[in-house]
């Protein structure tokens, strides 16, 4: 037995009070952990999207907020073939559809594509099954996560109003696309959208060399005023910057939550120290140094902090995992660094919360303390 063990045993004296102090830290750390794992998930999803896009450009109608609202003339494809900087061209029609399956995902973004889509994505794009042919009807390639959520596999058929689609393949990109996108033959998409033969939503192009992307952009934009060329990378870089700001906000808010937990520890320890004033007097009368008494109080605060942080971490992981199950587009990522950060932050603030009670206890005069003054 030593001072450390004695102090930890003290935690058992007022179980409810200790429990509430622990709960304060648990909630704060849980909040930090769950929000940070979601942030990590978003960041890594965006980074992976960046790798996946590998420099593709999207030509859309000037000022379109979303590809779904854009209409581009399909004859532009012929024009683009003359440009030597372009390696592959994929005309695409975007269709947003709601699903009626209860409990499953509620929305899906269908992209009507031709065979040339295969030339603008990576060779490992399809995970199981295969591409459909552009002349097929009622075929679909689903993102891996939306397929999981719908519970459909290759070869099965399901309804996306107004058509039944048969799954020919499952793609996986480890990005948000996996949770929201299905690829269908271009004519099917055109039929659903009621577009004419010469209309598509966007044209996606793959440059021969990513360095030539700017040249393609000015080629298109100088010749067709009504179109704009966007680099998804730019959007993603913008998103990453916003995420950085969001991350700081997350830290700030959950930091405040943990701080409140720390104040809870100060309160609990202060009450405990005041309650035990005669005992502290006795400890000093029997030869405990001021630092022994202070150390003992800090160990108690640290005990509360460590227990609280461990539970907070576990509950935070459970919370973000649950959030992912409810919101399929949400990606969470568990990184050791995030756990270490939340843990160290929580334990640090707990220790900080113990400082004032520790000082108060260590400065008590033995004679006055033993009389309970």
């Amino acid at each position: 037995m030593n001072v450390t063990l004695y102090s930890l045993k003290n935690l058992k004296r007022r179980k409810l009070r200790t429990g509430l102090a622990i709960l304060g830290i648990v909630l704060g750390v849980m909040l930090i952990t769950s929000l940070l794992t979601v942030m990590d998930g978003l960041e890594s999803s965006i980074t992976e999207s960046l790798n996946l896009l590998s420099g593709n450009l999207i030509i859309q109608e000037e000022g379109s907020v979303d590809q779904v609202f854009s209409i581009v003339n399909a004859s532009l494809v012929e024009d683009l073939r003359k440009n030597e900087d372009i390696e592959a061209i994929s005309p695409e029609i975007y269709v947003a559809r709601s699903l009626e399956a209860s409990g499953g995902p509620r929305f899906i973004t269908l992209i009507g594509v031709t065979n040339s889509y295969r030339d603008i994505v990576s060779p490992e794009y399809i995970k199981t099954g295969s591409y459909f042919n552009e002349t097929d009807h009622s075929k679909i390639i689903l993102g891996s996560r939306i397929a999981d959520r719908l519970g459909v596999e290759v070869g099965e058929t399901f309804l996306i109003p107004p058509m039944n689609f048969t799954v020919t393949g499952i793609f996986e990109t480890n990005t948000m696309a996996d949770a929201i996108i299905g690829l269908i033959p271009l004519p099917d998409a055109r039929a659903i959208r009621n577009l004419s033969e010469d209309q598509v939503s966007v044209i996606e192009v793959k440059p021969v060399d990513p360095e030539r992307a700017d040249a393609i952009k000015s080629y298109v934009e100088s010749r067709f005023e009504e179109y704009e060329v966007i680099f998804p990378e730019d959007l993603i870089k913008g998103a990453t910057e916003i995420l950085g700001t969001v991350r700081n906000t997350v830290w700030l808010l959950s930091g405040i939550a943990v701080l409140i937990g720390g104040i809870g520890i100060t309160n609990a320890m202060l009450m405990s120290v005041i309650e035990r004033t005669p005992e502290i007097g006795l400890l000093k009368a029997t030869g405990w140094r001021n630092m022994d008494v202070g150390y003992s109080v800090l160990v108690e605060a640290l005990g509360i902090g460590v227990i609280g942080c461990l539970f907070g971490l576990v509950l935070g992981i459970v919370a973000s995992q649950t959030a992912q199950n409810i919101i399929p587009a949400l990606t969470v990522k568990f990184t050791p660094l995030t756990f270490i950060e939340s843990f160290v932050f929580g334990v640090g603030l707990s220790l900080f919360g113990g400082v004032y009670p520790a000082l108060k206890a260590s400065r008590m005069s033995p004679i006055q303390a033993i009389r309970g003054e």
């Binding site: 029997t286 405990w288 140094r289 004679i367």
Partner: protein
């Protein structure tokens, strides 16, 4: 100079209470030789407990000198006084101040918890507890013990560090007279076995009647110092 474990020279202690100054001790000088078994008596407010606090290195006098085992306590810086308390003195108080979460033997070991390599004290604790008749109660919690037993645990706790002097502040105050007498008897036995100087502060005449020497304090001064020929 005769062998002495305690010597005070013209000790005074003043307290400030609001605007007035209270003269708790007004020049107290006496000596105690090793292994003495004595009591300090006097009415409330006579300065008994103040004197005990000064002798036990819990407090420092306003003027005068206090020597404990050859060390002038008035020359020891306040932050070093703990070492005197840890190594040279033991205290038993009216209230037992046992820690409810700890067992009997753990309570006895409380003073030495901050000492490094304190395993050696465990054997001492076991010996003390069996001397005092609590061998069977070592793993009990305080709430499983009677008042007399709890005070005996507190006595063992005060003796764990082999002190030169054991200070007992109104230790029978919370016990019935039979239990109180039993405790005094045990302390007498320990005084004989271990030779530890034992000083009682009490207003209980049955306690002082059992000690070899009685110092009477009144109004901060010693008014009588009698050795009993019939302990």
């Amino acid at each position: 100079m005769a062998e002495e474990v305690i010597r005070t020279v013209a000790v005074t202690k003043n307290y400030r209470l609001g605007r007035s100054v209270i003269h708790a001790l007004r020049g107290v000088s006496f000596k105690v030789t090793p292994s003495e078994f004595l009591s300090i008596v006097g009415p409330s407010g006579s300065g008994k407990t103040t004197l005990l606090n000064l002798l036990g290195a819990l407090d420092l006098p306003t003027s005068g000198k206090v020597f404990l085992d050859g060390v002038d306590l008035t020359q020891v810086p306040e932050r070093k006084l703990y070492a005197v308390r840890r190594n040279k003195v033991g205290f038993v108080f009216q209230h037992f101040y046992l820690i409810q979460t700890l067992t009997t033997i753990e309570n006895v070991l409380v003073p030495v918890l901050p000492v490094k390599n304190n395993k050696q004290f465990r054997k001492r604790a076991e010996e003390l507890l069996s001397t005092i008749g609590l061998k069977e109660r070592m793993t009990h919690k305080p709430n499983q013990l009677s008042g007399g037993e709890q005070q005996r645990v507190a006595v063992c706790r005060a003796l764990i560090n082999n002190p030169k002097v054991l200070f007992c502040d109104e230790i029978t105050g919370e016990l019935d007279s039979a239990t109180g007498e039993k405790i005094i008897g045990l302390l007498q036995k320990i005084n004989q076995i271990e030779g530890v100087t034992t000083i009682f502060v009490t207003h209980d005449p049955t306690v002082s009647s059992k000690t070899d020497r009685t110092i009477t304090l009144e109004d901060g001064k010693i008014t009588s110092d009698k050795s009993s020929s019939n302990p």
